[in-house]
């Protein structure tokens, strides 16, 4: 059964709050001395939660699979529902996260500018926050 708008927005806000909490923790990881593996992993999940928040608010179906979320990100951007296309970033962050899962962080991870990553995530959270707010006002 289709969810009511109220339920969808409630779900969206829950995911957005989780995304903000994860961003907050990722930001701490980006401070010196950096924890790049922790920062990238938390940013990845935060992006995913923000994306799910947008999908829930718009009433768009989503799945739990990471690669399908990247497809969803591309679709929402192409449909002009989201201003930023995070699909490639999601794939890249997932790759980096998996590289770490095998053991020690690799060379690619050490080359990432964590402050930029966290800052771009903050902008995306702002964009999704505005989207959810605008739907609440409708």
């Amino acid at each position: 059964m289709a969810k009511s708008k109220k339920d969808r927005l409630k779900e969206a806000n829950a995911h957005l709050a989780r995304a903000r909490d994860q961003w907050d923790r990722a930001a701490v990881d980006s401070w010196s001395p950096e924890d790049s593996a922790g920062c990238v992993t938390k940013c990845f999940y935060s992006y995913e939660n923000a994306l799910v928040a947008a999908a829930a608010a718009l009433g768009t179906a989503w799945t739990k699979r990471h690669y399908e979320k990247a497809d969803l990100a591309r679709r929402l951007f192409e449909q002009n529902k989201l201003k930023t296309d995070i699909s490639d970033l999601l794939v890249r962050l997932n790759e980096l996260r998996k590289d770490v899962s095998y053991g020690d962080p690799g060379v690619e991870l050490s080359q990432i500018n964590l402050e930029d990553l966290v800052s771009e995530l903050e902008s995306f959270l702002g964009e999704v926050g505005e989207l959810v707010s605008s739907l609440e006002e409708d």
Partner: protein, 254 residues
């Protein structure tokens, strides 16, 4: 699960791409992970290792394909450092394309080095910390994934310490049972095939932490102390920024 022809065509497409992008290089492509062991599940990706004489160019690949690209020198260094991933690739990797650098590695003395299981304790402790942080945010799916990594690293530490080489993740469950680690086997099985609950994840976290302390107390203690030092350094760093800035510490803001 991806159909077998899909795995085959993904591999063939990748081999074509990587070969044409690195024409002057000696490239080897090795099938690794659960697909190489024919134990893949619905969640399994196709994992490939690329080994070359010089840093290779590896283009963006489909999302279900996970590629690790290393030079032969980097790979040999990992073997020497007792890295279990590299040792796994040498023992169980299935070559799709073979060039001389890979053959040299397989026949080298480094190929026979037994992985350092202490490393796995460090890796497990790191993932456990991440799982705990994600659980605090209420993201059960994310915490479950990180917990699965933590439990897998812990399982590998236990097996390597007992001189049993850990196979693919689905096979490790059976290896653990045979080594009388039924509870960790159950945790791995549940995390692999079921939706995690908050209660189960909390119990798993505590159990795996206890196991890590039991397996290697000095290394676990060293990890915890290092983490405390890191957090303290962050706090001091942010305090000094705050005293020279707006007077508010980012740590206090959290």
């Amino acid at each position: 699960m991806l159909a077998e022809p899909t795995y085959t065509s993904l591999t063939q497409d990748f081999v074509r791409e990587v070969s044409s992008a690195n024409k002057e290089m000696q490239i080897s492509v090795i099938l690794i992970g659960s697909v190489a062991r024919s134990t893949h599940t619905s969640k399994s990706d196709l994992d490939l290792l690329v080994i070359s004489d010089r840093p290779p160019v590896v283009a963006r690949h489909p999302d279900r394909l996970h590629v690790q690209a290393l030079t032969a020198q980097q790979f040999a260094e990992r073997l020497r450092a007792g890295d279990d991933f590299a040792a796994w690739c040498v023992r169980y990797g299935v070559p799709i394309v073979t060039a001389q650098p890979w053959l040299d590695i397989v026949n080298s003395a480094e190929a026979a080095i037994w992985p350092d299981w202490h490393n796995k304790v460090r890796h497990a402790a790191r993932r456990l910390t991440l799982a705990a942080a994600l659980l605090e945010t209420g993201d059960l799916a994310a915490a479950g994934e990180e917990m699965l990594y933590a439990a897998s690293h812990t399982a590998r530490a236990i097996l390597l310490k007992a001189r049993i080489f850990p196979l693919s993740r689905p096979e490790i469950i059976g290896q653990l049972r045979e080594a009388n680690h039924g509870r960790l086997a159950k945790i791995l099985e549940d995390l692999s095939y079921q939706e995690p609950t908050k209660g189960a994840l909390t119990r798993d976290l505590l159990y795996v932490k206890r196991l890590l302390v039991f397996i290697d107390r000095p290394v676990y203690r060293e990890f915890v102390q290092l983490r405390r030092q890191h957090l303290l350094a962050k706090k001091n760093h942010s305090s000094s920024l705050a005293s020279s800035g707006n007077g508010r510490s980012p740590v206090q803001d959290r």
